[in-house]
Amino acid sequence: MLIPCPHCGTRPVEEFTFLGDAAPTRPTTNDPSSMEAWYEYVYLRNNPRGTIDEYAHHSGGCRAWLVVQRNTETHEVYGAVTARAFASRKEAVAKGEQA
């Protein structure tokens, strides 16, 4: 697999460390009433067969945290953005849903 790092260009997969699915959102409170949300965040995964957005650390390169979009069935890589850009996009979507 080749990963297109927004900073370094296309780099081989062994330069990256994967952290897994970027879909779960960390709860913003540790109030006991949020236990269920924490349980879901820490343990439950959609584990899709198909497209996934996943955290990848460019540990052998620029050391930035990225979110790579990839197909888990074919290993086709669709693209990569910085984790910061992914988080802003996710926040915008969440706000859009609230409005």
Binding site: M1, T17, R45, N46, N47, E54, E73, H75
Partner: protein
């Protein structure tokens, strides 16, 4: 027909033309008491023990591919019961006891070979940890021997004992561990289940799970709707996808694990050996090939093939342990998809849906567990309650904080 020396002689004299097929190729009936989704090792073992131990007959095993096409035929064939935690060790030791009598029990040669599993240690701290693990095993009645460096050298003189980074300090040996011919395990359980009336239906994929009023009603398949009272899911690698059909999200990810076999060599490594400074395990098959593997690739995958960096990583670890491996040629590598659970331990449990049972999350330790997994899952399905051997493998343990974290590393889907 039973296999024995007389049936062998009789069939030899008639030119091996009259052997009966080992199992039937039935079309699915409209309805079964119990349907098992997944005709791998665990699913077939479950059907076998449901019939043999619980006297149930109206059972179908549905397999989307051909029998034994999944991880039962893709693993490195190692059996052992060298676990430490209370929730794990009695279960794996029961599996070892079942392995020890399996061939007589299902009348099939599975080439169970208790050639010993040796885990190498490379630091004083690791030796202390092995002593602790060995003691925990012995408390549970499992055999364990702590070997010093010279005792290991006696067994395997060609290891790199003075490796600058990872010198070999000794090892933990379980003599009763070993290897089993993996395909024969699938075939033996399939034949044993079939002869007791279980329908094994190949190329029959479960496409949907029908639940009515909180109760399982049947499954949609490419061969039509099949009604059932109870449904057991044994689809490891693909468990999240199967559970989604019942509206469940599971605490696991699917990852690819690669395995390798070398060209055939003369007898070289007579047991199973694992490197303790990286992740590498090796044994030699009866055909002479070295069968070995290492870690998962490290990213979510359903692809059944990995990438080259892990091939390089595994072989580097192997050469660090056995320098002469550098001259051995690798014939093949392949991949299998693992249910990587969030604490490295499996799930054998009921679910919140009546009549729906889950067998999942085997990480990459499922092969050695095959008989006990089938035995416990059969018990859980037949009695509608877990046996005490699988009572710790609850689905809700992640919610209640009762994880079985053998490595003590917390919630990550890369344990085993």
């Amino acid at each position: 027909m039973r296999y024995n020396v007389f049936s062998l002689i009789k069939n030899t004299l008639s030119g091996h033309k009259n052997w009966e097929p080992a199992w039937r190729q039935p079309e699915p009936k409209k309805e079964y008491d119990i349907v098992i989704a997944g005709g791998g090792g665990h699913g077939l073992a479950t059907a076998y023990y449901l019939a043999k131990e619980h006297g149930l007959r109206n059972i179908a095993v549905l397999e989307k591919g051909w029998l034994g096409s999944g991880n039962i035929g893709r693993n490195t064939t190692i059996i052992r019961s060298n676990y430490m935690l209370p929730g794990n060790n009695p279960f794996y030791e029961w599996s070892m006891k079942l392995w020890e009598n399996l061939e007589q029990d299902f009348n099939f040669n599975a080439m169970v070979s208790q050639r010993g599993v040796l885990n190498l240690c490379h630091t004083d701290a690791q030796r202390d940890a092995f002593a602790r693990r060995g003691n925990a095993m012995r408390i549970d009645g499992v055999d364990a021997e702590l070997l010093d460096r010279e005792a290991v050298r006696e067994m395997y003189p060609f290891f790199d004992y003075d490796n600058a980074r990872f010198p070999i300090k000794g090892g933990l040996l379980q003599r009763r561990g070993g290897t089993v011919r993996h395909d024969a395990v699938a075939w033996g359980f399939a034949r044993g289940a079939d002869s007791r009336g279980v329908d094994i239906i190949q190329h029959c994929e479960v496409k949907g799970i029908n639940v009515e009023n909180g109760k399982v009603a049947g499954v949609d398949t490419n061969k039509g709707f099949i009604k059932c009272k109870k449904l057991g899911l044994a689809t490891a690698g693909n468990s999240s996808e199967t559970a989604k059909m019942a509206g469940m999200r599971l605490p696991m990810e699917s990852h690819v694990l690669q395995a390798f076999v070398s060209e055939g060599l003369k007898p070289y490594i007579d047991g199973v050996v694992t490197f303790g400074a990286g992740h590498f395990y090796v044994s030699q098959s009866d055909k002479g090939g070295l069968v070995f593997g290492g870690d998962i690739d490290g990213y979510n995958s359903y692809a059944r093939r990995g990438n080259l960096p892990m091939v390089e990583h595994v072989i580097e670890a192997g050469v660090a342990m056995i320098p002469s491996l550098a001259r051995v040629r690798v014939l093949r590598s392949w991949g299998g998809i693992m249910d990587m659970s969030m604490d490295g331990s499996p799930i054998i449990d009921k679910t919140h849906i009546q009549g729906l049972y889950l067998n999942a999350g085997w990480c990459y330790g499922g092969f050695k567990a095959t008989p006990a997994s089938g035995w416990c899952f059969a018990y859980t399905i037949a009695r509608d309650e877990p046996h005490k051997l699988n009572a710790a493998y609850r689905l809700d343990r992640f919610r209640t904080g009762h994880m079985i974290d053998e490595k003590g590393q917390g919630a990550t889907p890369n344990l085993h």
